[in-house]
């Protein structure tokens, strides 16, 4: 096991949350976790196919950032590990599960699959399956907000874009090219690197001369922060600050969330390279248990209240599976539909 980075100190007691917010964050993370567990089950039962990348362990990042944004107004772009970002952005469990089943009722009408979740309704700009290719697209959405505000004089155009990608993507040219443009033009965007230490089998330290990704912001004259990606309150605190900066027209932020995936790269990954010791180290930092403990400490939730949320989410996920199973396949007569606009 490579020596773990010293976690950034962040006093979460400074993050003020109400009971309602605390329970919302908890529910969002539990939904992500239970949904992905169900995906694994359905994959092994032959209900979904292809490459399925699960988000277990990283929930605090999706919830911490996206739930600090304005739903359906702000923009979110994701990667091939996109189910939970879609859920946090407001796409229903039904629509995400149906997409995984390849059904017409899926958020991408069964044409996208696990790695290509889209929802124009919820401003989810998509799951981008090639590493780093979503970064320019998200940068374009942020450019659009600036364009409306500054070129068209639309004062209400203060939408912020959150762009998620992994440590592996931070070595791709598009990362550097876009950081340059976003900082140059002060675009309202937050680049969120989910550093889970592994790009499939490539350990971050083996691929990256400067493993502390957040430091790369400084060479572009932009704000960069590292954050404990297993602590949703810490992520939320950093995200709120970055969102406020973006909305105020003060430019982009690079956030590096130190996190870990509890499963292999995908359900097809034998996961032979990561040590047991490393997995245990991170499993002990489960973000859901962490928030549950924080909520208890702040007297914001009882065990019974959290249990009720768990039960509610289980029912949502079961309902999503039933919905997906009973949904129709796409119409074969519509094989060519959606190639061009207007069809």
């Amino acid at each position: 096991m490579v020596a773990e980075r010293t976690l950034p100190k962040f006093d979460t007691s400074s993050v003020k949350i109400t009971k309602e917010e605390g329970l919302m964050l908890y529910e969002d993370m539990v939904l992500g976790r239970f949904f992905e567990d169900k995906c694994a089950e359905m994959y092994y039962r032959g209900k979904m196919f292809g490459f399925v990348h699960l988000y277990n362990g990283q929930e605090a990042v999706s919830t911490g950032v996206i739930r600090a944004m304005r739903r359906d107004e702000d923009f979110v772009s994701s990667t091939y590990r996109d189910h939970v970002h879609a859920l946090s952005a407001g796409v229903s469990a039904r629509e995400v599960m149906a997409e995984l089943f390849g059904k017409e009722t899926g958020c991408s009408k069964g044409r996208g699959g696990s790695m290509h979740m889209f929802s124009s309704q919820h401003n989810l700009l998509g799951g981008y399956a090639f590493v780093a290719e979503g970064i320019p697209v998200a940068t374009g959405a942020a450019f659009q907000s600036k364009y409306r505000k500054d070129a068209l004089g639309d004062k209400s155009a203060d939408q912020v874009t959150a762009c998620f990608f992994g440590d592996g993507a931070s070595n791709n040219g598009q990362f550097f090219e876009c950081l340059n443009m976003a900082a140059l033009w002060k675009l309202p965007i937050i680049y969120v690197v989910e550093n889970n230490k592994w790009a499939i089998g490539m350990a971050h330290e083996r691929a990256t001369s400067q493993p502390e990704i957040f430091k790369k912001a400084t060479v572009f004259n932009m704000a960069g922060h590292e954050v404990d990606g297993m602590d949703v309150l810490a992520v939320r605190g950093v995200a709120q600050e970055a969102i406020a900066r973006a909305r105020a027209g003060e430019g982009p932020t690079l956030i590096e969330a130190l996190t870990y995936r509890f499963r292999g790269h995908s359900l097809a990954d034998p996961d032979e390279l990561r040590s047991q010791e490393e997995k245990e180290f991170w499993a002990a930092r489960d973000p859901i248990k962490r928030l549950a403990a924080d909520l208890a400490k702040r007297n914001l939730a009882t065990a019974a209240e959290l249990k009720a949320i768990d039960d509610k989410v289980k029912a949502i996920v079961e309902d999503a599976v039933e919905f997906a199973e009973s949904s129709p396949e796409p119409n074969p007569g519509e094989l060519y539909r959606y190639v061009f606009a207007g069809d």
């Binding site: 290509h116 889209f118 970064i135 697209v137 998200a138 500054d150 443009m181």
Partner: protein, 327 residues
């Protein structure tokens, strides 16, 4: 009527569309202060500001992706490839995102964008600046591909491309920017999907596009003097092909020669031959002939470069041979 150079015709189209729709903007290398490598956007930034005529860093992959993101969220970007060959650096963004994203998203988003700029083989510009790219992009689903060839069609087609809700790859030719033509004073649009019958004839259908159109009309002058009557069709749309116009012509002449600047292997002509064989085989009196450029990187040496691309005398010879074997 006003005599207009082709690069100015393109500039007028851009200017008119930017004035008409404030979501239209131009981005690319040196499109702003410098005015574009062929002056298609000269001084537009003074009129529309630096956000609507956006000088980008040299980052083709990322500014093409940025344009996709802007298009997804409601703007109508026009990307100028300083040289269309540079867009090879953005192949992923053009193919995966501009081309495929609407389908992959199940119709959630549309991508109204134009990717335009100088392509083709110029005069001794060397291999990398003398690309024949149209075939590289031809298989990408969701892209429309258009090649303009005159000042008139350049203006009308570019306006149509900007108004289209799909990604349009718009090829200009580096040697045609100074073509002159009287253009109508009033606004006009040329549809993206219609081929143009350049010269009606009855003997043989010559299918061509871009600069090769002018090689064909030059060859036709000699051929007509020799008593031949070729029909020259400028395809305009390289994807999808206007099979209606092509078919009507083939049913009239029963002979087809494709004259293209792109490479023979996997070229535009290759696809045309396949389609004509599929759909019009019984109409043919002779196998379809392809005159394509050579399957080599464009050489710098002027004589070798000339040998690489099709010349008017080859077109004359091809028509003569095809007509001589008349059944």
């Amino acid at each position: 009527m006003a005599e207009t150079l082709m690069f100015n015709a393109l500039r007028e189209a851009t200017d008119e569309e930017m004035a008409r729709d404030n979501t239209v903007f131009v981005l690319g290398e040196d499109v702003g202060h410098y005015g574009g490598s062929y002056k298609v956007t000269k001084d537009l930034y003074k009129k529309y500001g630096e956000l609507r005529v956006l000088d980008t860093p040299i980052a083709e992959n990322s500014f093409c992706g940025l344009a996709v993101g802007a298009a997804l969220t409601g703007l109508r970007p026009i990307i100028e490839g300083m040289n269309m060959g540079f867009l090879l650096l953005a192949f992923n963004q053009i193919a995966n995102n501009a081309g495929m994203l609407r389908y992959t998203s199940g119709g959630n988003f549309k991508i109204p964008m134009v990717i335009r700029g100088p392509g083709g083989v110029g005069r001794q510009l060397g291999a990398e600046h003398s690309q024949r790219l149209e075939a590289y992009f031809h298989a990408v689903p969701g892209l429309k591909i258009v090649a303009c060839s005159t000042a008139y069609n350049a203006k009308g087609l570019l306006k149509a491309a900007i108004r289209d809700d799909n990604p349009v790859l718009f090829f200009e030719h580096v040697l045609l920017y100074n073509l002159k033509e009287d253009l109508p004073e009033e606004e006009y649009i040329v549809p993206l999907d219609k081929a143009e019958i350049v010269r009606p004839g009855k003997d043989v259908t010559i299918l061509t596009y871009s600069r090769m159109r002018h090689h064909c009309t030059q060859a036709a002058k000699t051929l007509v003097k020799e008593g031949y009557d070729p029909e020259i069709i400028d395809l305009i749309s390289l994807k999808p092909f206007d099979m209606e116009t092509i078919s009507a012509s083939v049913k009239k002449t029963h002979r087809v020669i494709v004259v293209e600047e792109c490479m023979k292997t996997g070229g535009i002509g290759a696809e045309l031959v396949a389609l004509i064989n599929d759909q019009l085989f019984d109409e043919l009196d002779a196998p379809v002939l392809r005159l394509s450029s050579q399957d080599i990187p464009t050489p710098y040496n002027g004589m070798l470069e000339r040998l690489t691309i099709v010349q008017p005398e080859q077109i004359i010879e091809a028509v003569q041979k095809m007509m001589a074997s008349r059944i």
